[in-house]
Amino acid sequence: MKRDSKIVVKQFTIILLVAFMIILVIVVSGIMMGMSSKILQLKSIIQIGLAFLFLIIGIFALYKLGQNIFPHNKFPRDWNTTFDAVSDVLWLLDKDFKIIRTNQAAEKLLGMRAKDLIGKHCWEIVHQTSIQDVECPVFEVNRTGKSASSEIQAGEKWFYIIINPIYSHNKELMGYVHTIRDITVKKNIEVAIVKIQKQNALLADLLQNSSQPFAIIYRGGRISMCNAAFRNLLGYTEEEFTEIANINSITPLEWAEYENDNINKLLQTGEPVRFEKEYIRKDGSRIPVEIFLHMSKDLSGELQFFYSFATEITERKRAERTLKESEERFRKVADSAYEWIWEIDETGLYTYCSAAVEMILGYKSDELVGKKHYYDLFLSENREDLKAEVTKIFSKKNAFHGLINKNLHKNGTIVTLKTSGSPVVSTTGNLIGYIGTAQDITLQQQSEEDLRRLSERLLMATKSAKIGIWELDYATQTTIWDDTIYQLFDIIPGQEVDYNEVWRKRVHPKDLIEYKKLEQEAIVGDGKIDSLFRVILDNGSIRYIKVDAILQRDSTGKPSGLVGTNYDITTIKLAEEAIRGLNEKLEQKVKERTESLEKANKELEAFSHSISHDLRGPLRTIDGWSLALMEDYYDLIDDRGKVFLGRIRNGAQQMGLIMDAILKLFRIVRAELLISKVNLSEISQKIISDLKLQNPDRKVKVIIQPDLIIKGDAVLLNLVMVNLLNNAWKFTSTKPEAIIEFGKKEIDNQTVFFVNDNGVGFEMKYASKLFGAFQRMHSDKEFSGTGIGLATVKSIINCHGGKIWAETKVNQGATFYFTLKEI
C-alpha cells in the first residue's frame, strides 16, 4: 500500500506537470497568436520556435521526471508499473550480465537502490563476489543458452534465481532477465517440515516403542492405531489385535457409560480428561487403567480422532484397596474399641468420632463430626481452663497423654475421660489436626477411689486383726512384709531381712519341709496354700502361724511369686489342742462306756437266753415231778400235801409266764422298728372283739374313735394296745357297767392318745411305779398278771419317741395317755 501511494503521488505529479505544460503551450500560443497580426511572419516563426523550445524543455523535464519514476523510459509506463509491481526482484541484464534495469522489489529485498545496482554484474549483488559463483546459474545459461535457475543461500535468506536469456527477432542474444525470488519463508517451511517430519517419525517411533500404552481412537471406538505396550497391556499380539481394534470390545459394559461421560466432557470442554476404567484382557481378566484422553481437531475445529494414554493402575488400585481396607479395618477397630477414637481438624472441630462415643457420651458420631469442637463437651465449670491447656499443647504441636477431663454426657451426667492425642502434621509442617483416644474412666476412678478406701479398710482390719500380709517374688527371692509379719517372726519391723534365712532360723524344720511341699503342690495344682507352721521364738516358745497364700503367675503363666497372709493362731491352736485333749478323753470314756454297755447288753442277751433255756428246765422238773408225785403217790399224800404240791406247780408255772414276759420285753428293746402306717382304731377293735369272744358274759361298753392312723411298728403298737386294752378289760371286770374308751385329744398343742376305763383304778402315789418291770398294783388274788406288761408298753412307746403316763383314782377308773412321735 505504501508503495502504491508513492506511485500514485508520482503519477499525480506527472499529470500536474503535463497539465502545466499544456496550459503553458496554450498560453504561449495564445500570446503569440495575439501578436501575429502585427508581425506575423517573423514573429510567428520565433513564436513557433519558442513553443517548440518550451515543448522540448517540457518534454525533457518530463523525461527527467519520468526517469525518476519510470527508470527505463524504453518500457511503456503500464509495463513499468507492472514491472515494479512484481514482488520478485527483476533485473534486465545486458549480455555481460550487467544490470541495466531493476525494479522496486530489488530495493526492498536487497536494500539497494537502482543507482547502486545499475551497471553492476549480477553476481556482485547476489553472491557479493567479484567473480562468478559456482552455484550461479550464469554458467549454465552460458553453456546451454537456455534459462537456468538455482537456489542460493545468502546469509539467513534463501533466493530462487532464474536467468532467462532474451533473444531478438534474429535470435541474437540481447540480454537476460534475472529474477530473484525470496524463498526464505518457503525454504524455512520446508526445513521446518522436514524437521517436523523427523520429529513426527521420532515421536511415532517413541510412541510405538514406548512402554506407555497409547492408542488413537476414532469416534465410535475404532482404534486406528495403538502401540505394542497397549496391546501388551491387553495381552494381544499385533495380528490378534487388528481383528478387534475397537475400544468397545475391550471395555466392560459397566464402564461404558462412565467412559462416555468422560468423552462428552472432553468434547464439550476440549480439555483432556483423565479417568479410571477397566479393560478386558484377552484372557478375560479385567485390568484397571487410568486413561488420559485427548482429542485432535482439524483446522475447522472438527474432531479428527482421540488419542489415549492408558496406564495400568493395578498396583495403585491394590494399594488404594489396601489403603481402603486398612482404613476400613481401622474404622472397624476404632468403632469396636471401647475407647473413643477421635480426629479433629486444626480448628478443633471433630472430623471423626468412633462409635464408642455414643456409649461414652451419649452422642452419635454424626452429632459431633463437623458440628462440635473438642471443648464443647467439657464441663462448663472448668471448660476454659481445659481449653487453655489443650490450646497450649496444640500450639506446640505436642502429643499429650492421659489428660483427665470431665465431660457432660448427653443425658446430663458427668463422664470423666482420659484423653491422649497426637498431632497430625502436613508435609510442610503445618498442623492439620489431632488424632487420639479418650477412655471413660468414670467407673475406674470410682473403683480406684473404692479400692483406695477398701485397701485402707483392709489395712485397718488386718492391723487390728493382726493379720500380716506378705509378698514373695520368685525371681528376686525378695519379700515384702508388712509390720505385722515382722512382729509374727519376732523381728524389728522395717529391718532388711533375708526371707530364706528367717524361715530357716525361725520356722520349725518339720513345718518348713511340709510348707515347701505344699508350695510345690500349689504350683502344679490349684495355686493355693492353706496351712500352718510353727515359729520358734528366741525364748523357745512356739507361735502357731496360719498361712493362706495364692500363687501369682506372670503373663506367660509361669509362677512368679506368692501373696499371702499370716495370722497368729497360737491361742486358737492351744485352745484347739485343749479341746482335742478333752475330746479324746471324752471319746475314750464314751468308748469305755459303750464297751461296757455292749458287754452288759451281751450279758443281758446271755441272761435272757439262759432264762429261756436253763431256768425253764428246772421249772419243768418242779412242775412235772410235783404232778408225778401227786399222781403216783396220790394215796400217800394227804389233802394238805396235795394243796402244797398244787402251790409248787402254780409257782413254777407262774415263773414260766414271768420269764416269757421278760423275754418279750428284751426282744422289744433289741428290735429294730419296722415303720408303716398303722390304724390304731382297727387294731383296738380287733382286740376288743377277741376279749369279748373270750368273755362273752362281760357287759362292756367300748367307744373307739375311728381312723386313728399313725406311723410306727405295727407289731409293737399292737402289743401296746393289747396290754392297755387288756388292762382296761381286766380292771373293769368287777364293774357291772364297764366302759372302755380309746381316742385322741389335743393337750398343749400335742396329739395325745388315751385309753380310759371306769375300773378299779389305783392310788396316784403309785403311778410312778406303774411302768417299772414287775411292779404290780394289785395282788394276784385280785388281778393276775406278770407285772411286765406296762414296762413293755413304756418300752415300745419310748422306742417310738413318745411318752406314756397315767391318771387315776382308786375306784374311779384310770386313763392311760401316750404320745407318738410323728415319723
Binding site: S612, L619, R620, G624, Q653
Partner: protein, 153 residues
C-alpha cells in the same frame, strides 16, 4: 411193742424221764433210744463207737432232738444227720426249752420237720407229746429208705 424206734436225744435225766413218762401217758409203746449227748446220738445213728455192731438199716422213725447238748451241740448233730444220705430223711422234731428266734430259724434252714418248745406245765407237755407221737408215728407217711440200692421197710 411197736417196731418204730424213737430216738430221744436229751441230756437232762429229769427231762428224759418226764418225757418217757409223757410217752407212757400218751400210750406210745415204741422203742425209745435215749442218747445223753450229741456224740452218742451220732454214734448210734451211724453205727459207730459203742454202736458199731448195730444194724444201721434199722432206721429210727423219729428223732427228738434237744438243742443244748454236751459234747456235740444239737445244731451240729442236726447238720450231720442232714449231711448223711441215709439219715437225712428221718423226721426230726426239735424238743427244747428255747424259743430263740435265731435258733428256730437256723433249725428250719438246716431242715427240721417241727420245732416244739417244751411247756413247763407237765399236763400240757403230755398233750404235746401225745399229739406228736400220733402225728409222726401214725398219721405221717414215713419216707422210704434205701441201703445199697435196697428199700428197707
Amino acid at each position: 411193742m411197736d417196731t418204730k424206734t424213737i430216738v430221744l436225744i436229751e441230756d437232762n435225766i429229769s427231762d428224759v424221764e418226764l418225757t418217757l413218762r409223757a410217752f407212757g401217758k400218751a400210750q406210745l409203746n415204741n422203742e425209745v433210744v435215749v442218747c445223753e449227748d450229741g456224740l452218742i446220738a451220732l454214734d448210734y445213728l451211724f453205727g459207730r463207737g459203742d454202736y458199731s455192731e448195730r444194724d444201721i438199716r434199722q432206721v429210727p422213725a423219729l428223732i427228738l432232738l434237744d438243742l443244748k447238748l454236751p459234747k456235740v451241740e444239737g445244731l451240729d448233730v442236726l447238720r450231720q444227720i442232714k449231711a448223711d444220705k441215709a439219715s437225712r430223711r428221718i423226721p426230726i422234731v426239735i424238743l427244747t426249752s428255747s424259743s430263740e428266734e435265731r435258733d428256730i430259724a437256723e433249725c428250719y434252714d438246716i431242715g427240721i420237720n417241727s420245732f416244739i418248745r417244751k411247756p413247763i406245765d407237765f399236763e400240757q407237755f403230755v398233750d404235746v407229746v401225745t399229739l406228736l407221737g400220733k402225728y409222726w408215728l401214725n398219721i405221717n407217711e414215713p419216707p422210704p429208705f434205701y441201703f445199697e440200692g435196697l428199700l428197707i421197710q
